[in-house]
């Protein structure tokens, strides 16, 4: 029983990480209808930012965190300005390709930093290696922090898209750019904002993840497991991203324990396939159909 | 005004209950003239009852028009016939294939074209990144006679079939005057031409029944007149029955043999164009009373 609880707990924590990254995907998807393959890399950059601020500059954790978030947000805006904006309006697929390219570049650049890029680093967060004991249950503070941050972030983003004019305008721009222009929605500016926001979210994810998987150039690949999370939840639904992440995390944790080796790595993908068979639009996705 | 010979007699009656014929032995006994009959069709989307117990029949060789205010459920009826939606209740029978009528719900959406029903869309659904010619050739899909491997090796038979398809398509192009646009990408065509291309594509399937959703919307008077001629050609020379949704009453009264007016998903009135147009309820819900537009004008003192 305790075993199951412990597995559940670690599944939830891992799931929150997936959810957090998926949140970034969904954010970009909802606001621009593109799928960003660079989200994992942005996260990696965010983690490196925080790492640099703490280890190289020597800032305290909170200072470094804020700095990293701000720096990444600025970077996101800049990225949009330089590479995304020129082809805004081209088929979404082009932008997806761009994000793949951005991913390569980010990984390449980081790897090229002498003596730092190729190595693995640990992020010295203040709560590192701390654990809470609830009876026999061990709760990792690192993981608890992830769960908390994820919940808060999800709530904020949800409120933005649901109630704020800006959030609705972002969705409008993604659904019909032309009409958005006709309505005077500053599509380009919003797009920049979205990328800034997504990069900030990625930075947060990176810092939360840093203590657990370490900071290294390839840490962004974990994003590949966040895709299934986003799909299981229904791409385009923020709460869905979190729930999807949890489902994937928990399934993974149990599969790793009870099933033979190899199932753990494939479990998320099996789950997503089953989900697509049963509910092609995910748990929270709406069934959309073109009216002719 | 042209009317197909032999079809001038119209049994006008709102709804099918009133239309009930002395049937003796099931659907097969229905008037041999009937091509498609819908009975008690209803469909519900969540809280919206888009079509509510609508019955009608389309006869061979006629132009049958659906009119009604926006949101009356006309397009939904089309979508039910082309199996994009499945009716909540009611059935649609197709009498076009051999002797026994079949229920359309027994067919998959892609089989409808092969039965001989082709349609156009209200919002134009063309293959945007292909040329007009290509679009029309796709329209001939139901007539393909080559298999996969024959196409891979492009056997002489395939070549022949291709040339034949091309000849057929070329006739449609000529009928609808599309020669100019033959090799143009659809994406760059003006709205009006696209409407015609869509009609042409539907014709390429060589249908028995053609569903036209607002064929004249976006066309000016002159072009609408052309459209009227085409519809008449299609009806009279090609012998294709037409089921049409249209808001332009001049076109409606020019080409249609019978009209069914709908409102809020229900059948409101049916009969000849003239009868329906003079129906008080239709005028009230759809046509509007005043015909004088001068009230729109700016009065001199303003």
């Amino acid at each position: 029983m305790l075993q199951i609880l412990q597995l559940l707990l670690s599944g939830i924590a891992q799931g929150c990480i997936y959810g957090l990254i998926a949140l970034g995907f969904v954010l970009i998807y909802k606001a621009t209808e593109t799928v960003s393959f660079a989200q994992g890399e942005l996260m990696m950059l965010g983690a490196f930012c925080a790492f640099a601020a703490m280890s190289l500059v020597g800032l305290p954790f909170w200072g470094a965190a804020l700095l990293a978030i701000a720096a990444m947000a600025a970077f996101g805006v800049l990225l949009e300005l330089v590479v995304i904006r020129p082809i805004l309006g081209q088929p979404q697929f082009s932008i997806v390709m761009l994000t793949i390219g951005i991913g390569y570049v980010a990984r390449g650049l980081i790897t090229m930093i002498p003596a730092i890029g190729t190595d693995t680093h640990s992020l010295p967060v203040p709560y590192k290696d701390e654990i809470w004991k609830l009876g026999a249950l061990v709760v990792n503070v690192e993981q608890a922090v992830i769960v908390g941050a994820t919940a808060v972030l999800c709530g904020l983003l949800y409120a933005m898209f649901r109630y704020s004019k800006l959030g609705i305008a972002m969705q409008a721009a993604s659904q019909n750019q032309l009409a958005a222009y006709y309505m005077g929605i500053p599509v380009k500016r919003l797009n920049g904002l979205v990328w800034g926001l997504a990069a900030a979210v990625a930075a947060i994810a990176g810092m939360l993840l840093g203590p657990i998987t370490f900071v290294h150039a390839n840490m962004g690949f974990i994003g590949l497991k966040a895709f299934p999370a986003a799909v299981v939840g229904g791409f385009g639904s923020l709460p869905g991203a979190i729930v999807g992440g949890l489902v994937i995390g928990i399934v993974e944790s149990f599969a790793g324990f009870y099933l033979p080796d190899g199932f753990k790595d494939t479990a998320p993908y099996i789950v997503v396939l089953v989900m697509l068979m049963v509910r092609p639009n995910g748990l929270f996705g709406e069934k959309l159909r073109k009216k002719v | 005004m042209t009317t197909a010979p032999g079809l001038a007699t119209l049994s006008a009656a709102p709804g099918a209950q009133a239309q009930a014929r002395p049937t003796s032995g099931g659907p097969a006994a229905v008037n041999a003239d009937v091509l498609l009959s819908a009975r008690e069709l209803s469909v519900r989307f969540g809280g919206v009852l888009a079509v509510n117990k609508v019955s009608f029949e389309v006869r061979r060789g006629e132009v049958f028009t659906l009119i009604g205010p926006n949101g009356a459920g006309k397009t939904t009826v089309f979508n039910l016939i082309s199996r994009i939606y499945t009716p909540t209740t009611g059935e649609i029978l197709w009498h076009g294939g051999g002797d026994a009528p079949t229920a359309l719900t027994a067919h998959a959406p892609h089989e409808i074209a092969a039965l001989g029903i082709a349609r156009t869309f209200q919002n134009i659904e063309l293959f945007e990144h292909a040329t007009v010619l290509h679009n029309l050739l796709i329209g001939r899909h139901t007539h393909r006679c080559t298999g996969f491997w024959r196409e891979v090796f492009f056997t002489p038979g395939t070549r022949r079939a291709e040339i034949e398809a091309r000849e057929k398509v070329e006739r449609v192009i000529e009928l609808l005057d599309l020669q100019h646009h033959r090799d143009a990408m659809v994406a760059g065509l003006p709205y009006g031409v696209r409407k015609v291309v869509e009609l042409a594509r539907a014709l390429c399937t060589e249908p028995k029944l053609l569903l036209l959703d607002e064929p004249s919307s976006g066309l000016n008077v002159e072009e609408t007149a052309d459209m009227a001629f085409w519809i008449q050609d299609i009806q009279q020379e090609l012998g294709i029955s037409v089921l049409m949704v249209e808001h332009d009453m001049s076109l409606v009264s020019k080409v249609s043999d019978r009209v069914l007016a709908m409102n809020m998903g229900e059948a409101l009135a049916s009969g000849t164009p003239r009868e329906v147009q003079s129906d008080a309820r239709v005028v009230e819900a759809y046509l509007g009373a005043v015909d004088d537009l001068s009230s729109l004008r700016r009065r001199p003192h303003e």
């Binding site: 891992q14 190729t118 190595d119 370490f214 324990f257 | -």
Partner: protein, 366 residues
Amino acid sequence: QSQGVTKDEIRIGTIQDLSGPLAGYGKQARNGMQLRVDELNEQGDVNGRKLKLFVEDSGYDPKKAVLAAQKLVNQDKIFIMAGHLGTAQNMAAMPVQFEKNVVNFFPITAAREMYEPLHRLKYSFAATYYDQIRLALPKMIKDKGAKKVCTIYQDDEFGLEVERGAEAGLKTVGMELTEKTSYKRGATDFSSQVAKMKAANCDLVVLGTIIRETIGTVGEARKTGFNPVFLGSSAAYTDLIHKLGGKAMDGIYATHTAQHPYLDEASQPLRFWANKYKTKFNEDPTVFSVYGYSIIDAFIKAAQKAGPNLTTDSFVKAMDTMTFEPDMFGAPKSTYTATKRLGNDQSRLSQIVDGKWKVVSDYVAP
């Protein structure tokens, strides 16, 4: 005349992981090799020939290793492949080399496949993972009174070698593995593997892991309050473990041959060497720099011996009578013959104490 040898040049190829999970190792090994190459070129030559080193990156990916090997062999026309890092990568690349009669010289991995089955062009220098664990494990079990032994290993030829060594070692004391669990090359999350071993109540875990996996596994175990004895192979014997993993890594054991050059306690020549390394690459040398350096050093010695007419045949002939004496890095003596292609089979045991590897046993031979 063999390819890669001209009147005044010998072309040496090497494939390292410069961008993948073992980038830490690859870079150090390359630097070590480069240092010895430069040294030679500055101070002299091998029978009138200078050395030229061709480095390719495999990213610890066998496919890239094959492509790199094809490039080195067919395009750069190397004479010899030296110090290629990684078991799976070597296994993949060797056929390409052998087709063109290029020797696979001292790959940086201790898998048995590096000299078995016997092949004219294979030379290996490191006591195998198999032997390392097979010998160290029974001793550990005895010392620690372990009852249940588990293993976590990388799911490829490297991990399997460790796992097989563990099984063989257990057999000698009449035990069996309680739990086996594996992970994929490049994995970063080991929570379920650790949970499995914890649930099995293991008190000794054999680590078929390398850098991040070692840290990840041990770290995860410590976090969940699971504290068995950890025993790794020479693949995990690196200063990166305690540098990255911090305090949590204290106490783990690993087998190895050469020693990490901690400068504060090193001998004078070693310090001199380390200084040279540091001036050149601006970082402290590690045990993998040592590997790289020694490999080129050994090559130079054998090539000297092969004489001015350097061909693959003459090189093989020279190698087959070579003996390398213990050097300043603490490696034992190693010898080669036409049928003995593993130079040395002795290994020893170290433990991390206060953030440093401390040797805890002497060399043992099988």
